[in-house]
Symmetry: C2
């Protein structure tokens, strides 16, 4: 080494001294990388902090989030904090307090970096030391309901939440702490904490499930913060276990990972995400898992870019952001697929980081900026800065949700969700795989939204998340006995039994199959799918169509459910309309007192309120919901039965919502065809008291052909137009030529379906 | 006459010629006043038109309304109009078309005056002549349901609506028409039209009821437009009839005016309005009657200022504007007193003129301007101009709704409505007279709103106004069998019988009595009232209190219902909470299938879903509604019964909403005390999934004294405070001194009530 001047000499001396001092203090097993003081490096980076500080005051959405966060944290610092001995289920004091604490620490950590004010670092440090004092004294949590009990919380899942957030806080104040302080925290708190949720609970950690995603990410985040490569490997690839029992199930009835299967973070990306970015548990749990997936991916990208995590599986983590946003209605609320609570939306905090990370690491899609604008908040990190700068520079474009089919299955070959959007209508048609332990037995079910409001509903889950009064805020038993059952959904129930006999072991082996998804013509969009395993010996084929006529303002739905079976059965097709019945075109007789509809498979939770017998022809139901008029028109055959049902029987604790359904029942039938239309055709105003277009526009619907090869439905409207929709039942080849004679008229066309206007 | 110059001479000659020509053309019976061409003069005046034209383009709210009106009318002129032969009930084509026509004519008339474009006058003229052609050919309307059938519509009421609007249009194009044209219209259309709704239907015209108000105003408006003093007298003072049967009732069961009683427009102001401006039928019908009251008053003031109509009865018409606005919740929706449809609000078109007229003729109250701003529309007339100018000049002030008691009865001595407002809570407590034919049997009932949402509901009426599917949009039979009955309300039902035996003849003879209304201390507001006639031999005394503690964010309600009777009875007190039951502190057993609760008086429409037996102590019910947590805590005695009920039994056409109630039942009891608290204490977010303050703050409530003289309730809260509320049961003198010993502690105070903090 050549020394050029005395200043240089001094620097070298200081550097050498520092190395010596560091070496003296360095505990065994700590890698050299710490010495370069590369913190923060997870969600905030040193360069990011520099850029943020340089832009503060000129990036409105970031400035606003920062001010709100500062206000919130300042108030909490003022109030003081509590680290109570764990005791409660969710909703209870100790649960909610520990939850509040980790969020506060994460925020205070970011504030320390951005504002360079040590009071925030002190706050995090003080709280961490309280935890470091408490943690070693803790047995597993006293509440026993979980298959994997945590220590701070009743389940490892929540402990993992804590560690994902706290790791970020630790990363932010890392340099603020002395080596000794860090050692204490890591030895007394972080390492045993990570061990508990991984080594001590492999049935939780070694799964492919949102629980494991949280666990893996938690261990991975603290590994990155501590530069602990052994823990990082555990996070990415799972923990080794001896004597693992592959038959264990979790609380929801889902299987624990089987021995020999892929485990760890990468396995959790690989399997549940389809190539389209659809998460097999459904959007509600994707929203939940999205945070650990993306926050850990971000940290990994920042700290270990060689993993190229955002390129993994053809960039599926970034695709998943787009998929998730597309799985929301006009209000941003997620569609209810599998276990899902109503009202969850892309305004959830986890979606703020999802959107920001998706923007920052996914090629700066300007449509994401408009979602961020609606969220009116960004993450206080590099990603949030990028979004704030994008908005500031006027780059935002509307996030245009179109009709979309999202495949399910690791390879995209296990069915799909088809979403048809036409006018204000959004039709969600489900022909997926089972959806792991959160799956419902609802193959070929659908739900309909208009302008963000549910019109034909999916019940969602029977749970009041975090509301302690209702079963500790956890899944209620009615989730299994009602919400998951087939009769709770808008799809066929055979012989009053749920699909796959309501058994997860069977259901999770199968999936429905895509048949047609064609949305290029916005006036005629078709989604069609088949299910051949739900009821052995019976095949279901449903085709859902949105049709927009020139003559009417609003599009309508045509629904063709074709059932073919080897045996005679009873088929029930429920229709869960929301709103107040206005009128039917059929006579029904209301029971003096409701009767319980059945014995099991969810039927025990339905009251029969009224019934009718149908003839050859159509029945129609006109109803009012949210000041809009709707009509459901269904083709019936001789002796079909109609049942007005209401949810709420055998519900001793009023856990269920008492909503209604209209069931069309065909008894002792081998092959059956259920055809109906759903229209939104009018409006009412309680202010002007004007009813506009209160009645259906449809004069008649009729099956004009139904063979093994083709099904054709004629639709006559009240303005004297008539059209025929034909679907080919066996050939979905886009280019196949078809010829069919109906009522002495010959139709020829190409492709799996055709709509012909006759007058 | 001295003639000064040749120009003057010419003028005189022209004038003389004009008089001669006029005289020649003047048909007999037309008064001189027409020659002065004083049209328009009803809602628009000549000066007003001049002022409007001068300000156009610089009065944003007026300009916007004008543009929207022009756009609407232009489109309709483009489309062409129809004057169909009457056939339908409301909701049907001919009904809705005639309704649309009169609104269009009124608007086109105003456009003609303001824009000075003859196409609008032509439009009105063409339509009027179509009516003039049709009307003489018409028999009474073919639909027979009304006690007073119209010709264009199924009831004279709607015919009157037509004439109130059309008179304004006629006034606007009066000068545009030739004398001959006017004669045709007046002879073939307006006079026979006015005769039909007055002379031909005295049972409609000679009442004190909103129907008659419309009828009187309609005849009055056309009288002013035609300068017909005989008709004006008829409007103001009623029509003379021979052989009148005083026992006739209308469709709602209301009495037709008795012979010899005051009739006509002034009688309709005098009797139903209390000196405070409260309209005895309730705000829903006040809203409806408000338009004819005020539009005719305006026309009368403009044309015949000598009547000083706005000073009549100490200015009650103007006071009524303020009263009506105060009878709305935070969203501007009217409280549900008597027959009323939910959702009706001050955004209704009739309230636009109400507010504008109230402002223009009532001293320019700047608070009305803020309502007009929210309405975002003004009337296209002198009053609307005044409002537009006021807003433009920045005079608007918030309309500050405070706690208020509005007396009922022509002299203000027939009870009242008491509204307690505290924080976001609005408590509506009803101790009025019966409310004419729209009255409900619900003395001492209440309803609770929070931030515009109903929490403890009044059912409102059983009717879907103008929705033809539901009984032609008219009152459903369930309005009588359910909505009017006592059990449909939050008040005491004795022996499963409605108050006054559900008989209008009896109920309309009585009223409740005010006892205390004290709202000067916003942390402790008290409304107390007595009802001694609803159940002969039984006296009801209810005291409702809002208490705001320092310790909690939200105020709560204390409700004391004291029953004293000469005989042992069963008392039911229903509590119509809206939302989902979270938890009770008592065990209930849910029935396998619901049972019908009773035989008559509304009980036949309630299902019993679950029941429980209470002991000495308190019961509490915790529920979730609109993402807010509420708790109802009630003191119970040994063997009290609790019943969870649901509306919907004996409802063969699904006319009723299936909402729930909790009934507290005391059997075989002479004197009873029902005491409860209602708290809004927490929130839930389905987006963050956080439940905040999910549980009640009240530890216990207890009756610590109950004598003929005093009732005292102790309230202990969970933060260890204890207070006692004492009400004097027999002395409501503000200055009376009281002394009472409770639990060995002596309390002394002045006035009818006291709240004492003990710790």
């Amino acid at each position: 080494m050549r020394i050029k001047n005395s200043a240089g000499i001094k620097l070298v001396i200081i550097a050498i001294l520092l190395v010596i001092i560091s070496c003296e203090k360095k505990p065994e097993g700590v890698s050299e990388s710490k010495l370069t003081s590369n913190h923060p490096s997870l969600i905030l980076t040193k360069q990011g902090v520099k850029d943020i500080r340089a832009n503060l005051g000129s990036i409105p959405i970031f400035d606003k989030t920062l001010a709100a966060t500062k206000k919130e944290v300042d108030a909490e610092i003022e109030n003081g904090f509590d680290v109570p001995v764990p005791k409660d289920y969710s909703g209870g004091y100790t649960h909610e307090t520990h939850k509040k604490n980790y969020v506060l620490m994460q925020k205070a950590g970011a504030l320390y970096q951005i504002l360079n004010d040590e009071k925030y670092a002190e706050f995090v440090k003080d709280m961490l030391f309280e935890y470091a004092k408490l943690y070693p004294t803790l047995p597993v949590h006293p509440k026993t309901r979980s298959y994997a009990r945590g220590k701070l919380f009743w389940q490892c899942l929540n402990d993992s939440n804590w560690l994902v957030y706290t790791s970020q806080a630790y990363d932010c104040i890392y340099d603020f702490l002395s080596e000794e302080e860090r050692t204490t925290l890591e030895t007394d708190l972080f390492k045993p904490f990570a061990d508990h949720i991984s080594k001590d609970n492999p049935q939780f950690f070694n799964r492919v499930h949102n629980h494991a995603t949280w666990g893996n990410s938690a261990v991975g985040m603290i590994a990155l913060a501590m530069d602990d490569d052994e823990l990082l490997d555990r996070a990415l690839n799972g923990v080794e276990v001896d004597n693992f029992n592959p038959d264990v199930k979790d609380n929801d009835g889902g299987y624990i990972r089987k021995d020999g299967q892929e485990i760890g973070f990468f396995a959790n990306i690989n399997e549940p995400f389809s190539p389209d970015g659809y998460f097999t548990e459904g959007p509600y749990y994707q929203r939940y898992a999205s945070y650990p997936f993306l926050i850990f991916a971000q940290a990994l990208q920042n700290k270990k870019p060689d993993y190229k995590v955002f390129e993994y599986k053809d960039g599926v983590l970034l695709k998943s952001v787009n998929a998730l946003l597309n799985l929301s209605n006009a209000n941003g609320e997620f569609f209810l697929l599998n276990d899902a609570q109503k009202g969850m939306s892309y305004f959830n905090a986890s979606l703020i980081s999802t959107v920001d990370i998706g923007y920052h690491f996914g090629g700066n899609n300007p449509e994401l900026l408009s979602i961020a604008e609606m969220q009116d908040e960004v993450t206080l990190d590099d990603a949030g800065l990028a979004v704030a700068l994008g908005i500031k520079e006027g780059k935002a474009k509307p996030f245009d949700k179109k009709s979309i089919e999202l495949s399910d299955g690791a390879n995209g070959d296990e069915g799909a969700v088809g979403i048809l959007r036409s006018g204000d209508l959004e039709l969600v048609f489900k022909y997926t795989a089972h959806g792991l332990s959160h799956g419902h037995y609802d193959k070929l079910s659908f739900a309909l939204f208009e302008d963000g409001d549910e019109v034909v509903q999916d019940y969602g889950m029977a749970r009041f998340v975090n509301i302690e009064q209702k079963g500790g805020g956890n899944y209620l038993k009615e989730n299994t006995t009602w919400a998951k059952q087939t009769i709770a959904h808008n799809t066929i129930v055979q012989n009053e039994k749920s699909q796959f006999n309501g058994k997860y072991d069977i259901g999770s082996k199968h999936h429905s199959n895509k048949y047609v998804f064609s949305v290029t013509n916005e006036n005629l969009q078709v989604a069609s799918a088949k299910e051949e395993n739900a009821y052995p010996g019976t095949k279901l084929h449903r085709t859902m169509v949105t049709i927009k006529d020139d003559y009417y303002d609003t599009p309508y739905i045509l629904d063709i459910m074709r059932v073919t079976s080897e045996s005679a059965n009873q088929y029930d097709l429920p229709f869960y309309f929301l709103g107040h019945i206005m009128k039917t075109n059929f006579e029904y007789s209301k029971l003096t007192t409701p009767e319980v509809l059945g014995k099991s498979d969810g039927y025990q939770h339905l009251y029969k309120e009224a019934s009718a017998t149908a003839n050859e022809g159509t029945v129609s139901l006109n109803w009012l919901q949210n000041n809009k008029f709707y009509t459901y028109t269904a083709i019936t055959n001789y002796n079909n039965e109609l049942i007005f049902g209401k949810i709420g029987a055998n519900d001793p604790e009023f856990n269920l919502r008492n909503e209604q359904t209209l069931i069309l029942r065909k008894k002792n039938t081998k092959d059956a065809l259920f055809v109906s239309t759903i229209e939104s055709h009018g409006t009412y105003s309680p202010v002007s008291e004007l009813a506009v277009n209160a009645y259906s526009n449809i004069e008649n619907i009729e099956v004009v052909h139904n063979s093994k090869e083709y099904t054709a439905i004629q639709i006559d409207t009240k303005n004297n137009t008539s059209k025929v929709f034909i679907i080919s039942n066996e050939n979905n080849d886009k280019d196949a030529a078809h010829k069919l004679s109906i009522k002495n008229k010959e139709y020829t066309w190409k492709g799996p379906y055709k709509l012909i206007y006759n007058k």
